[in-house]
Symmetry: C2
Subunit: 331 residues, 2 copies
């Protein structure tokens, strides 16, 4: 039986900020189930800033989206048909065949949700790529430890809000930057010691006032002026985990850095990283994050859009900061 | 007996590129010798780009030069009077009381030249701060290893030319950047696999052509467009040692970076460092560098200015790239 699904296709490669014209919602054929395959209906789709990179035709750590084809991304769904012994109809799974209502593929493409008492969508958030990026970036890449002074940008975003809470759970002092009073209030409610509203003044000045003794760790989601401010505030042997530079995804940096020389004088280490580099340590992450969620030390907030039609606009809204916490699409 | 010396004093703090007006050659009193002290007449003075930082009144890894006082810097001299059992008249020493004709201080301030068959001034060059910075930066900070493709900027400078030769001695492929045909010829003569004349075109294009497969290591002496080009060419898990940013010392960076996002996708590590962090490993450096100099694998070239009067202009000329190899002042 041939079946189809509605899926968002990449129709043209954006230059700068993408627009709705770059995308089209079209019927796509689902491949027929082979032995060892399953078919899944999606309930939750993730939209993430990193997807912008896959819309360019450049070699990177993940291949670019193919033009005229369905895009991919994190999703949670339910198995509705299975020819794989490891998957039963009704099983909940998370997988990377998002941007569509249904998906079919080999059982290895689908991961059964681990038996933790959390809502399904958390596997796209604090227990998924988002939380894992925060966890490994803060603790492994930046080697943040108890007592460190940590600065995190986009602290009201999906990754940033997880960084704030992980840092507090580990006994660090945390300064978060976010845009606007509502976001800053939420960042404080997560336990941050200070929340800096970058719309209220130059972030370098705000950070210097909030951290007169400087910072040990910077978790970068923004780039540009936030990165420069962190360089200016870095203490000796500060460590920077570069997770994202949302200011630069669409246009490249137009910021003129004032503080690059401090890399030398303060012996700063700056490291880029990718969540999947740390999959071999994911048991640590599930143990710690599962525990913090169970104890209430890590909470989450979602900005939810409804229906497959909403997916590209949800994605675009990431770049104007329209989300608080994790941006999700519910089908 | 009270004695004096001519010494260069910092009379005002430069803004931007220093000028001769910032300095004055004046008589300064030499402190009377106490027990355990010695008096030294200097034969060689070092001028180095890092000294620009000490002319600013900012906290850094070394304290700023005091206004109205003699400056300091690397020097080689001869003991002419001693009240210290460890130093005899006639001993050759290297020390940090430069920018002056003579110096007096406790014996611990003076290091007897180790018994290696090299010209005295090498202790300010390949066997001194210059060579040590190259050695530890390349091998420890950037963890460069046999087979790596290494890019080094200011490759005809004191540190850069040492990096080129150490990299070749260790079996790496080396691409050096320098300004002008004469410098590039010298870089090639040191063994570099390619020399890029940054005055002949955009360094990003030159590097992309010379390293179509990318680079594993970047040794940065320049910052700005060279650093951006290196980011653009970096392979997966590339390591950058940030030694200097001569483009930025006087004015801060005005470069708009195009390739910062590659820090993430290529998992680049960028590390600032200071030579003195590695003094505990200096025996390794003397052993290796001494051997390479003895075998002719590492050679040197100097740009020598004559007389104490010449010191500030020699220093200023570093910023216009007037030197090939190590810039020295001979007294």
């Amino acid at each position: 039986m041939m079946s189809t699904t509605r899926a968002w296709h990449l129709m043209s490669r954006p230059t700068g900020l993408p627009t709705m014209d770059n995308f089209a919602l079209k019927e796509a054929a689902l491949p027929e189930l082979q032995d060892g395959w399953a078919r899944v209906e999606n309930q939750w789709l993730s939209v993430d800033p990193y997807m912008r990179g896959r819309m360019n035709d450049v070699r990177s750590y993940v291949p670019p989206f193919a033009l005229g084809e369905p895009m991919q991304g994190g999703a949670v769904g339910t198995v509705v048909e299975s020819r794989a012994p490891s998957l039963a109809v009704g099983d909940k799974v998370f997988h990377m065949l998002g941007w569509r209502e249904a998906a079919a593929g080999p059982a290895e493409a689908f991961n059964k949700l681990p038996p933790l008492p959390v809502p399904d969508h958390q596997w796209l958030g604090n227990l998924g790529l988002t939380g894992g990026t925060a966890y490994f970036g803060l603790l492994r890449v930046a080697e943040a430890k108890e007592g460190d002074i940590v600065f995190v940008s986009a602290a009201a975003g999906a990754v940033g809000s997880a960084v704030v809470q992980i840092a507090k759970a580990k006994g660090m002092k945390v300064i978060g930057a976010a845009g606007g009073a509502e976001k800053c209030e939420w960042v404080l409610s997560l336990g941050a010691d200070a929340a800096l509203d970058y719309k209220s003044g130059p972030i370098a000045k705000l950070l210097a006032d909030a951290a007169p003794d400087g910072i040990d760790v910077y978790f970068d989601n923004v780039g540009g002026d936030h990165l420069d401010a962190a360089l200016g505030a870095a203490r000796q042997r500060a460590r920077f985990a570069i997770c994202g530079m949302i200011e630069d995804y669409n246009s490249g940096s137009s910021h003129s850095f004032r503080n690059l020389l401090r890399i030398i004088g303060s012996r700063i280490t700056i490291k880029g990283f990718i969540y999947t580099d740390y999959l071999s340590e994911i048991a640590d992450f599930y143990r710690d994050m599962g525990g913090w969620i169970a104890s209430g030390q890590v909470t989450s907030r979602e900005t939810v859009r409804e229906g497959i039609e909403a997916a590209p606009q949800a994605f675009l809204d990431l770049f104007s900061g329209a989300n608080i916490g994790k941006m999700l699409v519910r089908l």
